[in-house]
């Protein structure tokens, strides 16, 4: 049961082969057994989960169930969920119990009837690519527990890879869904900016953040995405457009599909064996009827520097609300207001978060704003224009998700620049607001490799189709990690 797809689980629930309570218990038991090794979850509340499962069973019995009602999933601890501790991986919010539901939480649980197995570990405030910046300790990769799962949605990735949950949510600001998906052999999708509501999703960099599904297959992602999307009047950047069924085009043949291969993604900087796996996957696509065309993203080398101006700038402001005044961590001792702020923030935030707040405050400050922030915004526009140009000659862009497989815990922790470069292929997608995916495409030394698919705006359905057809022809995505067992 634990290895079944969402579709199979839905069928089992509908056929009353298993109840949601039984199914949820199965996963909760696995979490209890394996989470001490993996540290994928920061909050598990069996009672709450089973209450949700019971309600789901009632809906199934009453015939009012939706397609995924009763299926348990894991929620990244960046989504506020009423009555649940919502920490965002930070000491600052270690005791914060949300009084309200994020729109994604409301849609997935209250409307779709999914059951929450708990909240997954993550890099603090989603700032990191290895899940090592979490206040609650690093998450371990189920493929090799001496290695990182990627980040920032590392807890969600490890949970699904070790089958502590059938699927999970993640958020992606610069690659935080796709990179851990690649490092843990999962399928992960970052939708077009504005497709999934950000209301109740604790902000890192507002103009880049986007929630999305992480699961074992494209089909599972499509099913999950169906429950997450939709216009939200509480999010001014949410897009009001007709709702799609993302499973609709899954089976479409790929004949005539034009795959764009940006020459900048196939140059230096990527591990050779990773690159070989990516090229093999592209060859497989050609067998499926696709053609390839070289495209260029001439400004892609500027994406990391532009990102590390824009994201910290927004973060420095977004994180100002964590001041110890109304909720969250407050230093136990202080003599005046200024000290309360300084000590609460000094003690409540970890070093990576502080680094980015300082960078952000710096690039926004008087006299530097034009040279950094405005310049980065100009680059952002150029990068988006590059994609517009590239999509004139192709339907989907492919390349590696991450330049390497999962690295060792601590390997890059001391060198932020090395860490930042692990998102070199994913960041441009966020800057442009495009949808991107990572799908399993092979192994190097027993560690998974991810293939990145980038689509045009609102091409989620097409990306899922392209991913699904590949997964019909290959079995990389069906391989299971056993490192935690």
């Amino acid at each position: 049961m634990i290895n079944k797809s969402l579709k199979q689980l839905a069928q089992a629930l509908a056929a009353k082969q298993i109840s949601s309570v039984e199914l949820s218990t199965l996963f909760l038991d696995r979490i209890e057994r394996l989470n001490p090794t993996l540290n994928a979850f920061v909050t598990v509340d069996r009672e709450k989960s089973l209450k949700m499962a019971l309600a789901a069973d009632a809906r199934i019995a009453a015939g009012t169930a939706g397609p995924l009602t009763g299926i348990p999933i894991a929620q990244k601890d960046i989504f506020c969920a009423e009555g649940w501790t919502t920490t965002c991986g930070s000491k600052m919010l270690a005791n914060f119990v949300s009084p309200y539901d994020a729109t994604v939480i409301r849609k997935m649980h209250n409307e779709a009837g999914l059951v929450s197995l708990g909240k997954t570990n993550m890099d603090e405030f989603a700032m990191g690519s290895s899940n090592e910046t979490s206040f609650f300790g690093p998450v371990r990769n189920p493929w090799d527990t001496s290695r990182v799962p990627g980040g920032s949605s590392g807890g969600s990735a490890a949970a699904v890879a070790a089958r502590l949950a059938p699927a999970a949510t993640g958020t992606d600001t610069g690659g935080s869904i796709r990179q851990p998906a690649a490092l843990c052999n999962l399928t992960g999708l970052k939708p077009t900016y504005g497709v999934v509501s950000r209301y109740g999703m604790i902000a890192f960099a507002s103009s880049l953040d986007q929630g999305g599904p992480m699961a074992a297959s494209a089909e599972d992602c499509a099913l999950l995405l169906n429950t997450m999307v939709g216009f939200d009047e509480r999010d001014s950047t949410s897009l009001d457009r007709p709702v799609e069924d993302y499973t609709r085009d899954l089976e479409k043949p790929l004949n005539g599909l034009r795959i764009g291969l940006p020459k900048e993604f196939f140059g230096e900087g990527c591990d050779a064996e990773v690159m070989a796996a990516v090229r093999a996957a592209i060859a497989e696509y050609e067998k499926l009827g696709a053609t390839t065309v070289e495209v260029s993203l001439p400004n892609s080398h500027l994406s990391v520097p532009a990102y590390y101006v824009i994201a910290p700038a927004e973060a420095s402001s977004n994180l100002s609300r964590f001041d110890g005044a109304r909720y969250g961590y407050r230093a136990p001792e202080y003599d005046n207001l200024e000290q309360m702020y300084e000590k609460s923030r000094a003690q409540g935030f970890g070093s990576e978060v502080k680094r980015r707040i300082m960078i952000g405050a710096y690039v926004l400050s008087h006299g530097y704003y034009d040279a950094y922030y405005l310049q980065a915004q100009r680059i952002r526009r150029l990068i988006a224009d590059d994609f517009v140009e590239a999509f004139k000659s192709c339907d989907v862009i492919m390349g590696p998700t991450s330049p390497s497989t999962a690295f060792k815990l601590g390997e890059k922790a001391a060198d932020p620049v090395q860490m930042y470069l692990s998102d070199i292929y994913t960041i441009a997608v966020n800057l442009a607001g495009l949808p991107g995916m990572s799908i399993p495409c092979g192994f190097v030394g027993g560690l998974p490799v991810g293939l990145q698919l980038i689509g045009n705006y609102f091409a989620e359905g097409q990306l899922l189709n392209v991913a699904h057809r590949y997964q019909q022809a290959t079995d990389w995505h069906q391989r299971r990690a056993s490192g935690a067992e």
Binding site: S236, E314, R321
Partner: protein, 484 residues
Amino acid sequence: MNQWEVVIGIETHAQLATVSKIFSGASTAFGAEPNTQACAVDLALPGVLPVLNKKAVECAIRFGLAIGAEVAQKSVFARKNYFYPDLPKGYQISQMDLPVVVGGHITLQVGQGDKAYEKVVHLTRAHLEEDAGKSLHEDFHGKSGIDLNRAGTPLLEIVSEPDMRSSDEAVAYAKALHALVQWIGICDGNMQEGSFRCDANVSVRPKGQAEFGTRREIKNLNSFRFLKEAIDFEVQWQINEIEEGRRIQQATVLFDPDSGETRMMRSKEDAHDYRYFPDPDLLPLVISDEWIARVQGELPELPGQMRERFVSEFGLSNYDATTLTANSEIAAFFQSTVAIAGKQNAKPCANWVMVDLAARLNKDGKEITESPVSAAQLAGLILRIADNTISNNIAKKVFEALWNGEGATADAIIDQQGLKQITDSGAIEALVDDVLAANPANVAEFKAGKEKAFNALVGQVMKAAKGKANPQQVNDLLKQKLAG
């Protein structure tokens, strides 16, 4: 003093009269229990997002149209970052580079009567932003309380050019602006509750010098009197400083109403770096021509338009028309009065509203909206003067009687108190004859060429008539008899 020129610019925060806040659905009503009108968005819980209230935008459009400004097709909300406990997000959402209203002007009248003159004050801009909460420093035993009810209340910050040259001009501008925002229904104007508050940027320079002097900004003046007192003090202080050889340093100052003095809050060196940047949670505010046209169609007649109409339609002087359109309440009262008394009586209506009624209201410290004499009652009174039922002098008695509630209408009071003017020439002639007979000395004096004696005789007749005789008839008859 005389060789110095004062330069004043004013920034005004007008709370917009919307039902809910600018970026959340919480109520904006004043005076609720602390923190009962602060929702998740106002509290800046993790994950919440702002959604712009279209009603607040409409207020800004109304204002822009009312002052002949450009309503920007595209404006941008920006974050102004600073830490303070009553600022829950750690930033205020405001507008910086691209405000919603650009330019415009207000025409005001400075001074009264003969000394009155017209002045045009240009506006730099007006932009939308959210108000902060309030810090409460009492009753918390060494701690501070925070009330976030006000957090997120929509404000229109209205910035004038440094066009004013005296505290009188500054007050006249503030009053005209105060009247205008209420006139167009975007602000309740309640200064005690902080709905309308001014910051004054004040500098002085030698007369004839082109460059401005260094300015100091007086923050948070919430009455017209404080505005004037603060500017007057500040101007004198700056002149003294310069005359004693010191330089003015740019600074923000506070006015202490008790001492009547301004004192430094922070110098330019202490000024915050607010690290403004466009708020990524909000899309640029795009205002279509259609939206502007719709708001234009809903605007009431504006003070300037009404003033011109009063001159052309009623033949009023420019001064009268300006005074009667100083605020919407006076204008409404006047218009209601004229509507009943008739256009031909517009001038007496204007005089009664501006002079007699205004003086009486002033005496009792009442606003025109609280006047015990209604526009209809006043019009009834004016009609009786016009048709010679009563004289102007008797009218003042009737007005006082109406004020005191002695009758429902002027007619009722005239009737009850027997104040109807005597116009029967036979009756007046009898009174005149009696007076002439009883005052031979006055008659003799008059005939000897003393004009004053005539007035004494008129007075005697009026006295005998208890003031009710028609003065013109009395005059005519007396002249006739004395000549005869």
